[in-house]
Amino acid sequence: MPPPTKPAPVEITRAGDRDVQIRWNDGRTVVYPARFLRMACPCDHCVDEMTGRRVLQESSVPLDVHPLAIEPVGRYAISLRFSDGHSTGIFTWEWLSHLAAELGQPASAVTTPNNPH
């Protein structure tokens, strides 16, 4: 059987001053708060490669951290360059879709960033 349509963003824009808004191919629009994204970085500096445990300390991340630039990675992910100089994370569509579920509500209603891990 051909695989079902997988989640993929259609449009990635800015929401407010520093948050990221993604419109998905299923029609949903999700706003990812800036610091939430930084805390959710999946790179091996932020997550232990072997155990999957998050090693990034919340206290080490500036409160006003936000993405400065977003670049596409192939057709499966984006990379984010953050204001704290961090830029090694590759956010795949699967990861961003998982994060949307974690945000757990229509994005417009999300005002306070939750800590994902």
Binding site: V10, V20, A69, I70, P72, R75
Partner: protein
Amino acid sequence: MPTQEQVLTALRKVMDPDLHRDIVTLGFVRDLKIDQGKVSFSVVLTTPACPVKDRLKEESEQAVRAIPGVDQVTVDMRSDVRPAPPPPGLNLVPGVRNIVPVGSGKGGVGKSTVSANLAVALAKSGARVGLMDADVYGPSIPTILGITELPTPGTKGIRPVVAHGVKVISSGFFMKPGQAVIWRGPMLGKLIDQFLSDVEWGELDYLVIDLPPGTGDVQLTLCQRVPLTGAVIVSTPQDVALTVAQKALDMFRQLRCPILGIIENMSYFICPHCGERENIFDTGGAERAAAEWGVPLLGRIPLATGIRIASDSGRPIILDEPDSSSARAFLEISQNLAAQISIQNMKETAEPALKISF
């Protein structure tokens, strides 16, 4: 005198069997001229390697000839390979319309022979074709295509070697014979970057990339750097090869690179002495796998001494023995591949492309 509307209505009955739409809706019909009873027009296909070119020509002619008042029909069959939709961000190879990596799970399944013959077959059909030998550990394209010269410096980068109508670049050009490549991942990534951006590919309809086996750094770098039209997977028919091929397929799916199809190589052996067919590595395995994975089977290539001899002597069998069953298999597969590329690009154009504005 027939009207333009009558002619177009008649041509709307001619369907492209791969794209499932009529040739007028697809925008294939151009330069329509009507002079009394004489009608002439062009049909511009999406690839010169179109497997149904003759059939479309005949059907178009017949459809127009059936209009009252028409006594002469001239159809000019042409092609213009449509590019894959542009991705957001930087395009490293702006002149290349379609990038098609040829991968496998296992090594030794004949990936390089298949890539080389497909590239030559596409070029023979009239397409502009490049072939990148990205198998850094065992570059064999120079041998298969009989290339003895080296690439030369161009105005902006490296000028590829042209062999049998195909622009070729290979890591083999930059190593001494017998020298092993012992590199860590980042070096492999750099080489792929160079092969993409520092080679003067120019305008190409198809860039075929012969990958190393497996699911490693070269594949990953490629999927991250450039928009791939879709990947081709080569496998032999036995279960052990297909199980590993599925991993390659899974990698491309995870990286959101479409799969254009599977090619079954060493599919069967026809004894040159008695003519009996022997399924050395089993047969039909790729067909079952293709059905299970939901991807097209592009075709089967026999295990034939002629292919081995042609590859070793640097004259692709498709040119050297065009009437052999092996050459015909390659030709048919190249046409099926070109058709799948057209279908894929049509599908993508229908979907919204990702926009990033931040």
